[in-house]
């Protein structure tokens, strides 16, 4: 398993390098004066301009600049925000857990509901339930996430007043940051009602973000389960006199999940993109919103770092899914 990991990393190496090259190129491709773009300083006098050029290493040949950039990356230096003058890496680390919390909540929801609905649809094939689930899945898949979020806000926050519109927890609470995950921190704090407030704030964004993955997972589970139900070993399981739930779950679902795993990696990508939109709508203080704000403010080091890290996360998740697939699918794991 470890050797498999190394092998996969080896094949990924060119892509990883390529991504860093692309991130490096990103800033330099932006039209305009590089010093202005990278430092945010405008209308400098020639002497100051030249001094900054030298300080930024912009007078060096490109490949040296790239190596310098790569070196900083490996040290965890992602540059400095033009707006706050703080290290980008630090800001990122502070905001990242919020996005993780949101993404994980969304993914859990998507898996729980998507798998269940897909399973039910497959078992009740052709029935109204099946058609209903598939119809919902198609609609969910065609939905503009940001509009869906606004509609849900309209219903649940504005009309019904059940959920708040923005933030991670009620402003009346003062929660010290321990893990960065609001649910955890709220539990740990001694503020009464903080946890409930945190959950209330998380629910709607998680539902919105999880909708598209949920639809995709439901469809995938259904088609995979339908194929499994046709297999001979399902008949054997029934011929053994096993309880129906056992046949469906232990024998059927266990095999049906294998192809669904392959879809998970892509869904995380959808979550990353969707996070940008969801965080914007719900003013959720994560890296998605941070990225969009940075673009608006021309805070290019932040944009560069945000894009780079997103790519690395996506590659990492796909690698993990690849490995997970190898573990779950005995035909790949054991070998003959």
């Amino acid at each position: 398993m470890f050797s498999l990991l190394l092998k996969k990393l080896a094949t990924l190496a060119p892509t990883l390098i390529g991504v860093t090259v692309a991130a490096f190129a990103l800033i330099r491709l932006i039209p305009g004066d590089p010093v202005e773009i990278m430092m945010g300083e405008r209308r400098l006098e020639p002497a100051a301009h030249a001094a900054l050029m030298q300080r930024l290493g912009l007078d060096q040949p490109l490949h040296l600049q790239y190596l310098h950039y790569l070196g900083s990356l490996l040290h965890g230096d992602l540059g400095q925000s033009l707006v706050t003058r703080e290290p980008v890496a630090a800001e990122f680390a502070a905001l990242f857990p919020a996005t993780i919390e949101l993404a994980m909540a969304a993914l859990l929801l998507a898996l729980a509901i998507g798998l269940t609905l897909g399973l039910i649809a497959a078992l009740e094939r052709g029935s109204l339930v099946d058609q209903g689930v598939m119809g919902l899945a198609t609609v969910g898949h065609s939905m503009p996430v940001f509009w869906w979020g606004l509609m849900l806000i309209m219903l649940f926050s504005v009309q019904l007043g059940w959920t708040p519109v923005s933030g991670r927890v009620g402003i009346e609470f003062d929660i010290p940051v321990v893990s960065g995950f609001m649910l955890v921190d709220a539990l740990l704090s001694d503020e009464a009602g903080a946890f409930v407030s945190a959950v209330q704030h998380l629910v709607l964004p998680a539902v919105v973000l999880g909708t598209i993955p949920m639809a995709v997972i439901a469809r995938m589970t259904r088609s995979s389960m339908l194929e499994v139900l046709r297999e001979d070993y399902m008949r054997t399981a029934r011929a053994k006199g096993l309880a129906p739930w056992r046949v469906v779950i232990v024998h059927g679902l266990r095999n049906a999940l294998i192809p669904v795993i392959t879809v998970l990696g892509l869904q995380v990508g959808s979550l990353l993109g969707g996070a940008v939109l969801t965080e914007t709508i719900f003013s959720w203080p994560g890296i998605g919103k941070w990225l969009i704000d940075a673009i608006g403010r021309r805070d290019y080091p932040v944009v560069q770092a945000g894009i780079l890290v997103s790519a690395l996360i996506f590659i990492g998740v796909n690698l993990a899914v690849d490995l997970l697939y190898g573990v779950i699918n005995p035909r790949i794991r054991g070998g003959s």
Partner: protein, 315 residues
């Protein structure tokens, strides 16, 4: 393995007895006819296709379909409700937005923008994508690794983020949006074409053609490509719908088509502040996006199902 049973009786099994009737030979319809039959049989897909055609038609005829200009502001009619709500008039059937602009007009003109960007981005991704895919399939050793690595890098960023990255470099705008979306869709076409072409290349008729001396280019275009068409068509349909979603997303984030050009996502972005006061400003554009994308997706599903037996033959 064992002793056979004793000699059978001498009864002859041949001849005599009533004949079993043979089924009459059926004539099969042409491939195009088969496809049309299969597609039409899928009621949902057919309805979806018609709906989409209507939307496309409405968008195309936008300048003549409404009396109002999409950017025309009616100061006396700010946030007017739609026709069926109290305070609405037939003059602005879907109401007006916060600047007094007719929503119906903006939706129709916005349709031109969205559908146009969608179609263009599909073309811009499909043509180079197919070309690169074919090259990668035919020149496995030289070109393929480089091309596929490049695609891997593009795929390292999920769709929307990649578009955002491209927009960051190029700046917002209509053309830049087309480019940004096309860049994200490109790897999909390359991979698809390459896989389909590789499968075709295994087939005997290709080997035969090569032996007969057919040139590579000719082989590519006349023999291999037509058989890759089915999956490509399905892919194009689905990337068309996701292009529309992405355009709207970029517009919503302020990174796509800039105002005052009407664009569905941009309309939603401006409408955020009016959820309570004027919900129709939010529901209308979103519903339009949903219905358009849904109709395209259902059509694509229908296409895929109708082409399926052919997909299996082609792949």
């Amino acid at each position: 393995m064992t002793n056979p049973p004793k000699r059978p009786p001498a009864a002859s099994p041949r001849g005599g007895g009533a004949r079993v009737p043979m089924p009459a030979a059926e004539t099969s319809p042409s491939p195009a006819g088969e496809f049309a039959q299969a597609f039409a049989a899928n009621l949902g897909a057919l309805v979806a296709f018609i709906v989409f055609m209507l939307i496309a038609l409405a968008a195309l005829l936008a300048p003549w379909a409404t009396p109002h200009e999409p950017v025309q502001q009616f100061r006396d009619h700010l946030l007017q409700p739609p026709l069926w709500q109290p305070g609405g008039t037939a003059r602005f059937p879907l109401g007006t937005d916060e600047l007094g602009r007719d929503i119906l007009a903006r939706l129709l003109h916005g349709g031109r923008v969205s559908l146009g960007i969608g179609a263009l981005s599909v073309l811009l991704a499909l043509l180079p994508g197919v070309a690169l895919g074919l090259i990668a399939a035919f020149f496995q050793r030289i070109a393929a690794p480089m091309i596929m690595r490049l695609m891997d890098i593009l795929l390292a960023l999920p769709g929307l983020l990649l578009a955002i990255a491209v927009i960051t470099i190029l700046g917002p705008g209509l053309v830049n949006t087309v480019v940004a979306i096309a860049v994200g869709a490109l790897p999909g076409y390359v991979r698809l074409t390459r896989a389909a072409a590789l499968a075709e290349l295994q087939r005997d008729y290709v080997t035969a053609s090569r032996v007969a001396g057919a040139g590579t280019l000719r082989l590519m275009l006349s023999a291999v490509l037509p058989n890759c068409l089915a999956p490509l068509i399905v892919q194009a349909t689905l990337s068309f719908s996701s292009a529309i979603l992405e355009t709207a997303a970029l517009g919503f984030l302020g990174l796509g088509v800039p105002p005052p050009t009407p664009e569905w996502g941009g309309m939603l972005s401006a409408a955020r502040d009016y959820i309570e006061r004027a919900p129709w400003v939010v529901t209308m554009p979103g519903l339009t996006i949903l219905v358009t994308v849904l109709s395209i997706n259902l059509t694509g599903d229908g296409l895929r199902d109708a082409l399926d037996p052919k997909l299996r033959q082609a792949a």
